[in-house]
Amino acid sequence: MSDAILSARELHKSYDLGRRKVEVLHGVSLEIASGDFLSLQGASGAGKSTLLHLLGGLDEPSAGEVFAGDQSLFGMGASRLAKWRNREVGFVFQAYHLLPEFDALENVLIPARIAHTGIGVAERRGRELLERVGLAKRMHHLPTELSGGEQQRVALARSLINQPKILFADEPTGNLDSKTGVEVLDLLCELQREAKLTMIIATHDDRVAARAHATLRLADGLIA
């Protein structure tokens, strides 16, 4: 257990839909070793996003635990969990979720600014990252002035600004055409290798599975 960077034990998650209670996860357990690159696959509505959110501490399970190393995520308190998300984890979302008022560089810097990193250090790193993802000339463009692929690259740079150990990506190519999707995917894989990231990508894109070290299949709320 101690060699796993992230592990889940008997995760249940149910949602209240009016009078009905729908359980999406029926007790998922898994262990992720440091440096793993996993793809999480399953049909729409199988609970991929839900599982990813639970593993990343964005949502609380109805029952069960998630451990980062030896620490229980949901036992550490909201502000320490927020800090963990900020420092140890990066997220890339299907819909990019960039802040519309901020230009590319500012968006990339947000996690660093949340962490109150010195602005000089953060900015240098932010520029490097944007250059790395091929947006050296787009630093001061607003999200609305960027294409989908470009926005996702900014989001990718943002997720790496605080040098996290784990990167979660939820359908990162879902909103992109296939060519751009491949480009973003290539970039993700390169960065994972370079930084020896632990990376979990939830997707139903088979090309991702092909690149991943392993694939987890989620069906009927359980890991198949």
Partner: protein, 565 residues
């Protein structure tokens, strides 16, 4: 703000380029600082018309402020010149164009056109395009920076909702300041008027007229705090006009006040020559001086005669009836010799002044008077001197202070003022609700972004700070504008009322009701207490209003926020 600091950092750098943002933000903040200094100046009374000349203490207070303003202007001269030159470079012009500023009007206009032009794309001889350089992000904490950014969406300068809530606070604060100041000024003026026309102390004998008033006067005058004492007689009379020709006579019941002109001057301004509107201040031998409203109501002119009936007439009629005689009692005829304006509507409308001797005759007093009016060097000592006089005077004398005599009106004024403050504070609360509702709208609007921030590791506390900072900015802007507007309206209150009267024929403060013909207001320099109370109170309410939306925002869960879409 960052742009402002940026310009200060390049204090005397006349090379390179400055983009529009840098120049105009610098201009904006300089202006704001000047306005702030101006407001402080105004509050201390420098620009206040009422400040007068003779009050040296205030000048001493103002001097450092004026100095600060001057030093600020001096310090800002070089950087503003420098940033202007850099801005001109940015539009691909030589910095020497700055000299256009020396030509009035046309020069300024041309310069303005240059200064608002967009940066020349690409590099020019003065350097690279500043728009490609990063914006300065120095210093400002992330939460505050975010709040400011949200208050100023990209498309419009400020969002409409923000603007409306700022206006709400502005109006609330302005109304509070204006009304409180006018109420205070009203109270002050009333006290001053009361003091002018009323003696600080009144000495009378219990249950009967003051017979030996001359020796009592000497006794009173021997007190060091007393600056003057004069006898008075006061009582109601019935007067009848004696119009010539067809008009029927009018009857009215004013108070007659018997005064010793010479002595009266030492205790009140009632008979001061400054008050004279027509005729002379002369009451000798059946002469009368009347208030201007009284003269207007009865259509009296100097030289007209009035028939005066006093209580004595009825005594005599009763006496005559008892004796069975058929004596016909004729009223005394008095001549109107002067018309005065005491500045106090009630006095102007219902007082007539007669000589002590005539008043004694009207009231059958012999050589007695109703009492002595006493003036003190310092009106605040009234109560102390009252106690002293009660000790030194023989038994059976009554001493009252002016405040005793006017308790009702003074108390009413105080209560009215407090109630008004309380009621008007509800305006502030309503304005604060404006902040709450706009902030709630805002939180809902920004829910996905709040979720993103939380997903990226922002704590609830950080999110709370962002939204709280917004309320703070709205509150502070509202307060600043409110103070500005309030003080401005106060400064020009009478001009404003006059305009209103001329435009609509509507008199907001008719003299008949409000006793004053000009709208009074507290001097700016004396408003410190009220302004602090209003400022702190409003800020507190506004911040309280911002807490709930900020709290809501802080509790959003990242996933819930995403699902919101």
């Amino acid at each position: 703000m960052n742009w402002y600091l940026e310009v200060l950092k390049k204090y005397a750098v006349f090379s390179g380029r400055s983009r529009r943002k840098e120049y105009w933000y610098f201009a904006l903040f300089s202006l704001l600082i000047f306005i702030a200094l101006g407001v402080v100046d105004g509050m201390v009374g420098f620009f206040s018309i009422e400040a007068g000349i003779g009050i040296l203490g205030r000048e001493v207070l103002v001097a450092p402020l004026v100095l600060v303003g001057a030093i600020f202007a001096l310090l800002m001269f070089i950087p503003s010149l420098a940033v202007g030159v850099r801005r001109l470079h940015d539009t691909n012009r030589s910095g020497w164009w700055t000299l256009l500023g020396l030509i009035p009007c046309i020069g300024h206009f041309v310069l303005l056109v240059f200064l608002v032009q967009d940066s020349k794309p690409g590099e020019n001889q003065y350097g690279s395009n500043p728009k490609q350089l990063p914006e300065p992000t120095a210093g400002l904490p992330f939460e505050l920076a975010l709040a400011l950014r949200y208050l100023r969406p990209k498309r419009t300068f400020v969002s409409m909702i923000t603007l409306i809530s700022i206006i709400g606070v502005t109006l609330g604060v302005a109304v509070l300041i204006i009304v409180m100041s006018v109420m205070s000024g009203f109270g002050q003026q009333l006290r001053e008027r009361l003091l002018e026309l009323n003696a600080h102390l009144k000495v009378s004998e219990r249950g009967k007229p003051l017979s030996d008033y001359r020796s009592i006067r000497d006794e009173v005058l021997s007190n060091e705090a007393v600056s003057g004492a004069a006898p008075f007689i006061i009582g109601p009379v019935l007067v009848e006009t004696q119009p010539d020709g067809e008009e029927s006579p009018q009857v009215f019941t004013p108070w007659v006040r018997g005064v010793d002109l010479e002595l009266e001057l030492k205790v009140s301004s009632l008979v001061s020559a400054n008050n004279l509107v027509a005729g002379d201040i002369d009451v000798a031998l059946n002469g009368l001086v009347v208030g201007k409203e009284f003269a207007r109501m009865l259509n009296l002119r100097v030289g007209d005669f009035l028939a005066v009936h006093s209580a004595r007439s009825f005594h005599r009629i009763r006496k005559a009836q008892q004796e069975g005689s058929e004596a016909v009692l004729l009223p005394d005829d008095f001549e109107v010799r002067g018309v005065i304006d005491t500045g106090h509507y009630e006095y102007n409308a219902s007082f007539v002044l007669a000589s002590i001797e005539d008043a004694q005759a009207l009231y059958d007093l012999g050589d007695a008077v109703h009492g002595l009016s006493v003036k003190l060097h310092d009106s605040k000592q009234a109560e102390t001197v009252r106690q002293q006089l009660l000790k030194t005077l023989p038994q059976g004398y009554v001493v009252t202070t002016w405040e005793d005599e006017n308790t009702q009106i003074l108390d009413a004024l105080k209560v009215e003022r407090n109630v008004m403050f309380f009621l008007l504070f509800f305006v502030m609360i309503v304005a604060a609700f404006g902040i709450t509702s706009s902030q709630i709208t805002f939180v809902v609007q920004r829910t996905p972004e709040i979720g993103t921030l939380k997903a990226l590791g922002a704590t609830g506390w950080q999110i709370m700070q962002v939204f709280f900072a917004q309320s703070l900015v709205v509150a502070l802007l509202g307060l600043t504008f409110g103070f500005g507007l309030g003080l401005l309206v106060l400064e020009y209150r009478n001009e404003f009322l006059e305009l209103l009267r001329v435009a609509t024929g509507f008199e907001l403060f008719p003299a008949e009701i409000y006793l004053f013909d000009k709208l009074p207001a507290q001097k700016f320099s004396e408003m410190g207490g009220d302004l602090t109370k209003i400022g702190v109170g409003s800020l507190f309410i506004c911040l309280l209003a911002g807490v709930i939306p900020a709290w809501n925002a802080s509790r959003l869960k990242p996933v819930e926020a995403f699902r919101h879409e």
